[in-house]
Amino acid sequence: MTPIFELRNVTKAFGVGKERVIAVDSVDLTIEQGEIMCLVGESGCGKSTTGRMVAGLLPPTAGQILFKGQDITKMDRESYRAYRRAVQIVHQDPYASLNPTHTVREIITAPLLRHKKVRSRSEAEQRAIELLEIVDLTPAGDFMGKYPHQLSGGQRQRVSVARALTVEPEFIVADEAVSMVDVSIRVSLLNMLSRLKNEFNVTFLFITHDLALAKYFAWEGRISVMYLGRIVEEGPTPRVVTDSRHPYTQALLSAVPEADPELARRKRRMELRSADIPSLLNLPPGCTFHPRCPFFVEGQCDVHVPQLEPIPEGGRVACPVRKSERIELIAL
């Protein structure tokens, strides 16, 4: 089957005066229909930029983005519109992404009517109620007349998802969609998203800085780790989480605090050679992680840009030095 998305050598550069920042650098990524792909990394690694390009909100500077085999920059008007409808994005901040002067009713029915998903206002009303029920805002009737400020963060995020569902998307980009929501509510939001995947076969690009969330949400999917615009490691979630190979992935996993005192105590610490992240305006040559990497090999890492290479355990790793080395994260 054709993958739902294929990113080929995608690069995005932003201009800063005379200088250029390469936010996303030659990213190759394939997302299969119905899977969950998780992009993780620290701020500035290019994960949101990648998500925005996939959703058609930003054009790539170079490279190709194929949606079901078709280059999105070369589509005719009709297919481009179908693509934009099929791919929806849910943003991080539910306080900023909903119009504060519109009621939930207006927020949900407007796209239904605009995209002619329904034939009449009463049908729109009916469909809106169904959608609110899908995202667990029940009794749905109670929410229709409410304004965003009358809702909690978690409820707002559910409205954002319901709005995305109005156009029956096949693909949702969830950009830190649960990061601003309280711990106790987060899991139910994630479970609701999982249900969309299972019941409506929605494919997800889940963008997060939180490795524990990525692990939980994408356990049956894949994780791609980004660092300074490049994907440094990619693979099935269980493999990436328990048997990571790229030193940057390992650094992240060993640095993440654990909500379990015993694990926290026994976790292996990885000492980096430098604590500071290089500026995107002045990237180091070769592997961009080399100034911080404890496994740095002079003459190799600072010269050659490592390419993602497949490993037998699953997925790809952009580190020729360490790709076959296993480390234990926890001292048992």
Binding site: E42, A212, V256, P257, E258
Partner: protein, 364 residues
Amino acid sequence: MANDSMEWSFQTGQGKNGHIPLSLENVHVVYNIRRGEVQAVRGVDLELHAGESVALIGESGSGKTTLGLAIVRLLVKSAQITQGKITYRRDGQEVDVLSLKPKEMREFRWKECAMVFQSALNAFNPVLRIWDQMLDTARSHGWNDRQAIREKSLDLLRFVQLDPERVLNSYPHELSGGMRQRVLLALSLLLEPQVLILDEPTTALDILTQRTILDLLRKLKEEQHFTMIFISHDLAVAAELADRIATMYAGAVVELGPTEELFYNPRHPYTLGLIRAVPTVAGGFEELFSIPGSPPDLIDLPSGCPFHPRCSFATSKCQEKEPSLTQVGPNHFAACWHWHEVEQELERNPLHRGVHAIKEGGAS
């Protein structure tokens, strides 16, 4: 003051010898807003032992930050400490914090008890270099020896692993988020306070930066024996740093106990709910559960135990009467009528936590 960065570890001698630098008794804080009275903190009792770190955990609106601000009396004007007592002790002397006059309070703050705020950028004056802010802080507490202040500042910046000369001459905006957080930590230590209150010390930071700060705080705790209160919504930060944890819900401490006890043998349904809602990275894969409903309206609290509308253990008793903290184990207290049932529930459905959970499989 000498160049030796360890000289300011003045507290080491006191150690854990039963000294209690800070105690809170029945503290209540109310915000008066148009809609009514917000019961932000409702009757908190807490004793802080020398050299220990206590984490206040809970969701937004649980009252943890308000409690921290109440201790240093930096609450907004609409808030009022309506009841209770805060006692501070140092060198055999006792101070009633709530009856301090404004001038004495300024002395107390920073010199005895410093607070590190969540947003490190807003805590600085943007038009002053770090050095001037250090100097200002010292001078306003009557310390005028420029040379000594400079040396102390350099020591502290070195301690937080920054390039001291460069940082001292920088403006706040020239520093990254993690650097600012570290500078703020250094600044809070300038006057050698006995108690440090840290409000979400690592929340807005990236993972690797967060690790640097966590390790620093751990060092501060283990080597310098600072007495610390951490305020965090992140259970992982509490697991890393706290000796004891206090779970807050609707303005009250609903569970209090040693960190491992709280994580492995929680007795309050809310603490249990939080733990079951948070995944680990290095542990096995486990199913997570969210807590139904949403946090209560602090103006119009549910009757009885404020957690009862969200609680699967709730009975009619919970709707009628609010439980107070009772002892459920060694140094372990919970405010729940049904803590025995929570215990039984955990026997039936144990938490897959700790190292044995990994050995049992799942992840590896």
